[in-house]
Amino acid sequence: MAETAKNEEVSDVVPSTAETTAEVEAVLDAPVDRGEPILQVRNLVKHFPLTQGILFKKQIGAVKAVDGVSFDLYKGETLGIVGESGCGKSTVAKLLMTLETATSGEVFYKGQDITKLSGRALKAVRRNIQMVFQDPYTSLNPRMTVGDIIGEPFDIHPEVAPKGDRRKRVQELLDVVGLNPEYINRYPHQFSGGQRQRIGIARGLALNPEVIICDEPVSALDVSVQAQVINLMEKLQNEFELSYVFIAHDLSIVRHISDRVGVMYLGKMAEIGTDSEIYDHPTHPYTQALLSAVPVPDPAAREGRERIILTGDVPSPANPPSGCRFRTRCWKAQDKCAEEVPLLAVPEVFAGKKTLAAHDSACHFAEERDVVHAA
């Protein structure tokens, strides 16, 4: 399972040498230039143990939710992560937020490994990496007013805003996300889904974070409201120089908002590249199948579009197939695929070639195929 090969997309990590809490805090709050890596994820692994027994628990296996994922996030960019349910994309979000403890691997934020931090240093990380949740109905405490919800970050991190300023700051935030600042005393259940998601975004912005992890931020919203929220997020990104990790299953939205896209399958990254590399020049069969299955709201463009219909379901992450995890549903699978784990790197066939197909793809038989555009 060791994935030691260095791949070219991933930059070198310059680990921070900070030791004391104060030094670590200084590193975390240091500025980063646009285009420089801000978050570097290396061989991230999360296994959830499966146990048996009530009093004396015995481990009988593990759900390999995330199994060796590496990627970079650059300052000011949006990295989209797509995949089907159970591919581990939401677990990646929780790991980046240090809401779950990684089984192994590192997450470097400005060179500082945040997976092993605790106490004040961890709190400083929280200030810099925030999250927007999927479900606007469950992510806001129904017993708190909007003002209390958006103001809570200031209660937890009093150094960010002095007490007298908070109400004003909350109203500014409401205004920034396009809500009436007078709504400050209302309760979440008085708002529609789109408005609630704006409240959630305002809460995420309160501490002036540099990175926002968005876990399916618009999938619970109506189509007409989705566009509003997406536009808002893009506006905020420009305004505050935010970096987004945008996790979603809707491939069209991910293409729209992302600069680069990673495709996950069963706990591993199958393919990663710029939006054009992934959507216009996919080389991994899973990406191709995924893209071809997207129903396109245009009957004219649909004619003549190639469709790959996969058979079967995603295997259980508790017992993933050997070798390439996609091989059980892949039409190209050969013996090699069962024996050897394909590494995420530029496939040999494209190595050194000047084509957009030359990007990281974890397939032994990578091959370019356009499934998005009509023939």
Partner: protein, 352 residues
Amino acid sequence: MTTMEKTANVPEPRAADGDGTPLLQVRDLHVEFHTRDGVAKAVNGVNYSVNAGETLAVLGESGSGKSVTAQAIMGILDMPPGRIPQGEILFRGQDMLKMSAEERRKLRGSKIAMIFQDALSSLNPVLSVGYQLGEMYRVHQGLSKKEAKAKAVELMDRVRIPAAKERVDDYPHQFSGGMRQRIMIAMALALEPDLIIADEPTTALDVTVQAQVMDLLAELQREYNMGLILITHDLGVVADVADKIAVMYAGRIVETAPVDELYQRPAHPYTRGLLDSIPRLDQKGQELYAIKGLPPNLLNIPSGCAFNPRCPKAQDICRTETPALAPVTERDGAPLAGRGSACHFWKETIHG
């Protein structure tokens, strides 16, 4: 293991029954809910019809009344708080709202069946799949346990559940999401109904599984020559399978059109806005067009056209007069079959 195919062409819409009566016709249906905050007007005069072998897609966002209409057709609305103050639901020309509870119960399942979004909660977790599938035959046709089970296996084969014979005694939680949705489809198909109502049948499924299930549904519909009402919010899913589309907003149908035409030339600003607000898969766009404002509050639907507060074309007339669903024609007045728009300015919308 993997099949590849070019997308099939849209099936030809089939003609109505011999006598010209549509399979199902909804006429001026109103549904309201009495809540402590007031009366929520969920459906406000919906008209549509479906013929045998035809797929009608009802497209709308949450609160548009698309699901409530379907539940009214199925007769599974909770009343109270629901109420149907006026309207008719004609099944083969007979008004179902005037039927006795017993008559309607007999229609349900044998003539009209429904597929829900959430297959897991729609299946009983403590009964085996085979038992639940066989139940249709035992209850409606009085078959023996053994015969019913054989029928259940046959059905599971038909919806292409692998190893049906071995899996017939399994329980719902032992199946994956896609397989469970197939079981729901099998259950709906059991008595070979004339009409199937599918309420967001693939919304809870992954993209690659969605395609499998939609294809299966379309194929079975062709095979049995059933009418299909597909309720969805997904413009993409609709484009793949529907013959005609009814777009709903705030409990009304704002536009009807054959599938291809709707996407090429929408005749209602809401439809146009929806189409413009979805990002494209095949190219990277600029800023998305977004319909401004909020979905309507059903307790307090705007006067005139319900869409007027969000509409870029709204004039004074839109705030005072409710537009009727008017036939849409070509620029020169030539009729466009099956097209209608409830907009005072449909001409400007479709012909620019």
